[in-house]
């Protein structure tokens, strides 16, 4: 129905003609749609929200104007939210409405397409982690980590305690989520120290005891350090019958030691670095684990089956873990997840293929090394602070106060992380490498 000026009155997405509406009311035997509402007078809302309807053209313009108020900075930012160039193919095909506007695959016979994509995503994660079970997404790395801790706690009910050990260097958001998830399970979090940016293995060994249900370590760390002692860390955890949970990301996994080979029981981390792009922290949580923990896995799993014609077919499986069947005894409350992001990530991995993916990961090491060296050449800056191998990012020490430097850089069009009074962190990858020269020049001015 349209108003005199041609604007559709009411929802532009409700297709009813006046004639259809009348016929429908007639069939129901109701006076009006309004009369169908059974809401007691006392809780009726008579006010207004005061939101003006806006037509599509005007609204697109006004939101574009709003976003144009964001400063156009070249971001050298990482710390858990990374982006690489997303090919057009991914944006284009992932927007196809059959993918984008479908629901969870509760009727597998008519959703084989999405199920197959998720199955392929799981398989890619299996290859990258070396672990045989990968779910088809968590919200992000933080919630994946938290779920790993809950899984560890469920498995180790015999243990005398409920402690999870995390590294001194951990992203605030990850730690914060972990705290909230662990609260209900009456678990506690212990922190183990780092030595020159990597795990202090001896200190960790001292801290792990039979109250520990899980040891968490990252490679690369939130500060970009590639951990060199993963096998030792895994052994320490296992010696104490704790699980070893490794945090990483989908690009790093293509280059660094295979998690299965260093004893990881669960791998968590971000996969949104491929396929998603910079999205204000939105992510895609990896969750991969060993076969023996299969029935404790949170989230959705796609498996293979056969249809009535004996053709291979895909379906959501092991749903008895989930809350719509098991309610409060479910492995997790996760229901809606990040399926569409997983689809995009799988497309991006497929687009890269194994060689370009490995090269992307290799560049993440060499580009970071090169940029650190160039900053280190600047008087007043020492980089990297840690004498370690780095992946994508590194910490730099500044002789001048870092807050002022970060602000000056912002005025010159660059964003880097401020860590503390004399430390900042810089992340480089294919999406900002073209501006590395300019960043170095800006550092020279402000350092």
């Amino acid at each position: 129905m349209t108003a005199g000026n041609g604007r559709r009155v009411g929802s532009p997405y409700a297709p009813h003609t006046d004639a259809d509406e009348a016929a429908m009311l007639d069939a129901i035997g109701a006076e009006s749609a309004e009369a169908l509402f059974d809401i007691p007078e006392e809780v009726r809302f008579d006010g207004e929200f005061g939101i003006e309807p806006t037509d599509e053209q005007e609204l697109r313009q006004s939101i574009a104007d709003l976003f144009a108020q964001n400063d156009d900075l070249v971001e050298f930012l990482g710390r858990g939210h990374h982006a690489h160039y997303v090919p057009s193919l991914v944006s284009d095909l992932s927007r196809r409405s059959e993918f984008l506007t479908s629901y969870t695959q509760y009727q597998p016979e008519i959703t084989q397409g999405f199920l197959q994509v998720l199955f392929e995503y799981q398989s890619m994660l299996v290859e990258l982690t070396g672990l045989p079970v990968a779910n088809c997404s968590m919200y992000d790395a933080a919630t994946g980590l938290a779920e790993a801790a809950l899984l560890a706690n469920r498995l180790r009910r015999g243990a005398s305690g409920h402690r999870v050990l995390v590294p001194e260097h951990i992203h605030d958001g990850r730690l914060g989520v972990l705290e909230n998830y662990l609260d209900g399970a009456e678990m506690e979090i212990g922190e183990y120290p780092m030595d020159d940016g990597a795990v202090d293995v001896d200190a960790l060994a001292d801290l792990v005891d039979d109250e520990t249900v899980m040891v968490y370590a990252e490679s690369p760390t939130v500060r970009g350090v590639i951990e060199e002692n993963l096998s030792e860390i895994g052994a320490i955890a296992h010696d104490n019958e704790a699980l070893f949970c490794l945090g990483s990301d989908v690009v790093a996994l293509a280059l660094l030691e295979e998690p299965a080979s260093v004893g990881a029981d669960v791998v968590v981390g971000e996969a949104g670095a491929l396929g998603l792009g910079t999205a204000y922290g939105m992510g895609l949580g990896i969750f991969a684990t060993r076969e023996k923990f299969l029935r404790q896995v949170p989230g959705r799993l796609v498996g293979v089956s056969e249809d009535a014609a004996d053709m291979r077919a895909f379906t959501l499986t092991l749903q008895t873990r989930e809350q719509h069947i098991r309610k409060e005894r479910a492995t997790s409350n996760i229901c809606t997840n990040q399926a569409w992001v997983a689809l995009r990530t799988a497309m991006h991995i497929a687009w890269l293929g194994p060689d370009r993916l490995v090269n992307l990961a290799t560049d993440a090491v060499t580009d970071a090394r090169d940029l650190a060296e160039r900053l280190d050449d600047i008087s007043g800056i020492q980089a990297p602070v840690y004498d370690r191998h780095h992946f994508r990012e590194f910490v730099a020490h500044t002789d001048q106060p870092a807050p002022a430097i970060v602000e000056d850089l912002e005025d010159r069009g660059f964003a880097v992380h401020l860590l503390d009074d004399h430390h900042l962190q810089v992340c480089v990858s294919d999406v900002n490498a073209h501006a590395a020269d300019d960043l170095v020049a800006a550092f020279e001015e402000v350092a």
């Binding site: 749609a33 506007t101 969870t104 999405f114 990968a134 792009g277 809606t336 569409w340």
Partner: protein, 461 residues
């Protein structure tokens, strides 16, 4: 219709040569993945997409899932390159993004009758969990240690799981013979251990909880809080607000109410609104407006984080755009048409609908037929079936929610599919579907012998 796996099209192993990059013992030896070119991938994913039902190919009347049309323009809005910023950007440098988040906080507060809203929870269940953590923090701040959450038996499974994850015992509440909260049972369930009652309204079968004011008083009198599950908010827009009914906390399912695409399982977003008294406990950070512009801040007694960063940004943008597009009259009309559609469809369906009056969804019963089989048969008639066998208060339930986006012709098609499937023989419905590209899929064998990756498939598969 059958599309080989990527791994069946190509499997390429590259040796990882890290010389000059990293010590050999820090790198993996090799990586095996499909190595295909863009034309091959374009066909693969195009074909797979065509093997997937969606709300742009046909009606999707999944009760309680609210699958409505997702306006195309919101995708363009969310893809604005100026909006692709990192979460660690300084607030002063992303005033546009913060302005949108602030606007959405306000929209949602107004729509729900709440005083403050966090946008951080990345899905509805995460919103529930967040809301329960807020309730817990509230009680703890008062030194009031409570152990129970009351939840109607017909509630979404996530309600139970979220309460349990927050460390609460769940008290399950039966419904009365009218399909609504059993007031006597509620009275019996409420105690000084009651941290909160979680309700959705209209409830899972579309009935308005007429005693909601009394319910709120009972819970509040016992020192408990009232939690609103936003799953069914699409029935009430502009006509009633949870805050006005006495709810203290609520989550919003933006894909259900504000048309953000479901994406085959997600991403979603589960913003949480609370009354003033609870605002200090919301997750960090929130956005507020000051004379100097928008800024991020941490609520005074914040529970902390429920997502590593700021939640599902792209989804929030789409929700904002949808709300701004419709405005007051569009939102109110969406609810009116959603309710009209559900009532009209029910009037055209031969199956009995035991409870009423319902709003945006109804639970028909398949009677002595198996609801899941009838649903499978509906696939043969080219439509997506309703949610089946849930809630349990209706035997062989077919929980149906057409939403406002279906026209009369589409509803008539749906009714025909319902009625014909319902009338078909046992043999027909048990062997259904037969006209889809995949026939009935064996769920039992999938679970009994889990094969969850292409690595797990034998060469003969």
């Amino acid at each position: 219709v059958y599309e080989p796996l990527l791994s069946e099209k190509d499997s390429t192993t590259v040796e990882v040569d890290s010389e000059g990059v990293l010590p050999d013992d820090l790198t993996r030896d090799e990586l095996t993945l499909p190595g295909l070119s863009e034309p091959q991938l374009a066909r693969h994913y195009t074909r797979l997409s065509q093997m997937n039902y969606s709300v742009e190919t046909g009606p999707y009347p999944l009760g309680s899932c609210t699958m409505k049309y997702n306006p195309s323009f919101t995708e363009d809005v969310a893809a604005d390159p100026n909006a692709a910023v990192h979460p660690d950007r300084s607030g002063r440098s992303i005033q546009g993004s913060l302005g949108l988040l602030h606007g959405l906080q306000n929209y949602l507060a107004d729509i729900g009758g709440m005083d403050a809203v966090t946008l951080q929870p990345p899905a509805g269940a995460a919103g529930e969990f967040t809301g329960i953590l807020v309730a817990k923090a509230y009680h703890e701040s008062r030194g009031d240690d409570r152990s129970e959450i009351i939840i109607p038996a017909s509630a979404h499974g996530t309600n139970f799981a979220s309460a349990a994850m927050a460390g609460y015992d769940v008290v399950e509440l039966p419904s009365d013979e009218d399909g609504r909260v059993d007031m006597e049972a509620l009275e019996a369930a409420i105690s000084e251990e009651t941290a909160a009652l979680m309700l959705t309204n209209p409830n899972t079968i579309g009935l308005f909880e007429r005693d909601i004011v009394e319910i709120a008083e009972m819970v509040h009198d016992a020192g408990g809080l009232l939690y609103y599950d936003g799953a069914n908010l699409n029935a009430l827009l502009g006509r009633a607000r949870p805050g006005d009914m006495g709810f203290d906390i609520m989550h919003y399912n933006v894909h259900k109410t504000f048309a953000t695409p479901h994406g085959g399982g997600g991403p979603g977003a589960g913003p949480v609104g609370v009354v003033d008294e609870l605002a200090e406990f919301l997750p960090s950070p929130m956005v507020r407006e000051t004379d100097a512009g928008y800024e991020l801040y941490d609520p005074e007694s914040s529970i902390g984080k429920v997502h590593g960063f700021a939640g599902n940004w792209l989804v929030l943008v789409k929700a904002y755009a949808y709300i701004a597009r419709l405005g007051d009259e569009g939102l109110a009309d969406a609810s009116a048409k959603a309710v009209l559609n559900a009532n009209y469809l029910a009037s055209q369906v031969d199956l009995e609908v035991p409870y009423g009056p319902f709003h945006h969804e109804f639970a028909a019963t398949a009677g002595d037929r198996d609801a899941a089989d009838v649903a499978k048969r509906m696939l043969d008639y080219g439509v997506h079936p309703p949610t089946t066998k849930w809630p349990e208060m209706v035997s062989e339930a077919m929980l149906t929610e057409p939403t406002e986006v279906e026209d009369k012709a589409s509803l008539d098609d749906l009714a025909r599919a319902f009625n014909e499937a319902y009338a078909d023989s046992d043999e027909e419905i048990e062997s259904a579907p037969s006209k889809t590209s995949a026939r009935r899929i064996d769920q039992v064998s999938a679970a009994r012998n889990p094969r969850l990756s292409w690595q797990a498939l034998g060469d003969d598969e």
